[in-house]
């Protein structure tokens, strides 16, 4: 009956981001927010483990007050309770700070056998928090998990690497970061969403914790990525295709 903590992040929905064509400035005026995609996989993995083996799932997140909306979302995805570490100053922390804060909350207040994280968040995709958190807590970490079995007090995990699949065994307590191949997160049904309001939530303010460490990296600029290529259109008829091939030959693209 494992005690599982799933860490998740409330992020900007990148599909709503607009880039101003002239200045390349990012326009975040009307962005929606969501639980980061890989974190959904982690929440689903926790829910499935609980269905199979029993135990409890605590969903844990750090953010500014606007992240409060994420709590019911997480609770509707199979978590039993949530822990929300909230402060306006917690928007835009860099990965080492996040790992530090998570480590401090977990070490001081939460019991666990297993910690699940998404391999990377859909906004920054730094892929640092999981391993850094494991180092902070002094527990082993397994990243890139695409298959997962619990055997009494150890996890057998399948990792997707570039060259092969690596199967590892690790004794609990441990931290795993997961890739979306692991499962397909279910769309919460009506009952799951409505029952979320009844589940306990612990909110922790910054003042209750040791001060956040100084940032180790700083963002100097953030601009829209714009690919500028002028699309020359060709028709689909034989003549136009001949011209296309000629153009490609001239530019050395075809031999």
């Amino acid at each position: 009956m494992p005690k599982i903590i799933t860490c998740f992040k409330w992020v900007v929905d990148e599909a709503d981001i607009r880039v101003e064509p002239a200045s390349h400035r990012l326009n975040l005026e009307r962005v929606g927010y969501k639980i980061s995609d890989y974190d959904r996989t982690a929440l689903e993995a926790a829910a499935q483990l609980k269905e199979k083996y029993g135990g409890t799932v605590t969903a844990l997140t750090i953010g500014g007050p606007s992240a409060k909306k994420s709590i019911k979302d997480a609770l509707s995805r199979g978590a039993d309770q949530a822990c929300f570490v909230s402060d306006p100053g917690f928007e835009g922390l860099e990965p080492a700070q996040v790992a530090g804060l998570l480590g401090s909350v977990i070490a001081s207040r939460l019991e666990y056998d297993l910690i699940l994280c998404g391999d990377g968040s859909s906004d920054r995709y730094s892929q640092q928090v999981g391993p850094r958190l494991a180092e902070k807590l002094g527990i082993p970490v397994v990243t890139a998990v695409v298959g997962l079995e619990l055997e009494s007090d150890r996890i057998i995990a399948e990792r997707k690497l570039e060259t092969n699949l690596e199967v590892v065994a690790v004794k609990l307590p441990a931290l795993l970061t997961v890739l979306p191949d692991l499962n397909t997160p279910r769309i919460p049904g009506l009952r799951d969403t409505l029952d979320a309001a009844k589940k306990p939530v612990v909110t922790i303010a910054a003042a209750e914790l040791p001060p956040v460490a100084a940032a180790l990296i700083e963002t100097v600029a953030l601009q829209g990525l714009v690919l500028e290529r002028n699309c020359v259109q060709f028709g689909a008829d034989a003549n136009a295709i001949r011209q296309l091939v000629e153009t490609l030959r001239k530019s050395g693209a075809v031999g």
């Binding site: 690497l161 100097v220 953030l222």
Partner: protein
């Protein structure tokens, strides 16, 4: 001894990281140390790529995961105090880097695609954010500074013959709490996609396996590698995962990329942005791929491809 460290899990990637390290070292006035996992190449290979010193790791017993080297690297880093640590960005590379950064209390820039050095300001590094929509410029406030370097983001150099340097053998890593139980091969790896001069990429616009055969015929005439977008792997299951181009797949930089029935979602386009020439064929005039292509044909690929194949054959024989 201050300096720049470079490590990667493959020789291909290590060469790119060394080339970058060498270039930065010249600007920063720092020496370059290659950390070499013994089974990759002989140390001479690293010297030929500009390393001044090689720290050599012994081969790992099979039950140790590669990440077991972290404590050894951390110990050595605490002795050597490198100025900058560059690690090749593979799955394991990123884990090793993040854990090392944790142990060294170092700031780290993940998947750095561009670096600039300024005598006054130091290093500035660029990386992609928001699913490929934004470029973030970051400065590392700690020493060491750390960055992971993705494949094909930086060029390689031809080797310089006759170089040499100091070789130091590092202690063997100890077993940690994670044990490797088995290693299973994935489908035959075609590293060819990353090397390919020409790539024909199929997308969701294709509907039948006969369509795929047509695309393969085009690839054959062009001498191109075949690749695909993620839906072709995950929904159609026509092609293996390693042929998938995109943010969570391969990033390619061929001379010519030809998208057939590819709509051009941002997650895919990020994987082709370094192609010399992007050419797209799509029935949908509104497809976003046309915004990032050099040449576009709006039409049914079932009609366009046979014409293109015919024309290429004729041009080839002229």
């Amino acid at each position: 001894m201050a300096g720049i460290w470079a490590w990667a899990e493959t020789w291909e990637l290590l060469q790119e990281v060394l080339r970058l390290g060498k270039s930065l070292g010249e600007q920063m006035g720092a020496s370059l140390t290659a950390i070499l996992s013994e089974q990759l190449v002989a140390a001479e290979g690293c010297f030929a790529q500009g390393a001044d010193r090689v720290l050599r790791l012994p081969a790992l017993p099979p039950e140790l995961p590669m990440e077991a080297i972290v404590p050894v690297l951390a110990g050595q880093a605490q002795q050597d105090c490198p100025e900058l640590v560059l690690i090749g960005s593979t799955q394991r590379g990123r884990e090793i880097a993040a854990r090392l950064a944790g142990q060294l209390q170092a700031g780290m820039v993940s998947d750095c695609i561009a670096v600039r050095f300024d005598r006054a300001q130091g290093l500035e590094m660029d990386r992609v954010m928001y699913g490929g929509r934004a470029v973030q410029t970051v400065r590392c406030l700690t020493r060491p500074q750390m960055a992971t370097i993705p494949a094909r983001a930086f060029p390689v150099s031809p080797p310089a013959a006759g170089s040499s340097g100091e070789i130091v053998d590092l202690p063997a890593p100890e077993a940690g709490k994670v044990a490797v139980v088995a290693r299973k091969p994935k489908a035959a790896i075609s590293g060819n996609l990353l090397e390919a001069r020409t790539v024909v990429c199929v997308g969701r616009g294709l509907e039948t396996e006969a369509d795929l055969a047509l695309a393969r015929e085009l690839a054959a005439v062009l001498g191109a590698e075949i690749a695909c977008t993620r839906p072709v792997v995950e929904e159609y299951h026509w092609l293996p995962e390693h042929l998938c181009i995109g943010l969570s797949g391969q990033q390619v930089n061929p001379n010519l990329y030809l998208g057939v029935g590819v709509s051009g979602q941002v997650q895919h386009v990020v994987g082709i942005k370094d192609a010399e020439i992007i050419c797209a064929i799509n029935r949908d005039e509104q497809a976003p791929i046309f915004k990032v292509a050099d040449y576009g044909v709006v039409g049914d690929f079932r009609e366009v491809l046979p014409r293109l194949i015919e024309e290429l054959k004729q041009a080839g024989s002229r």
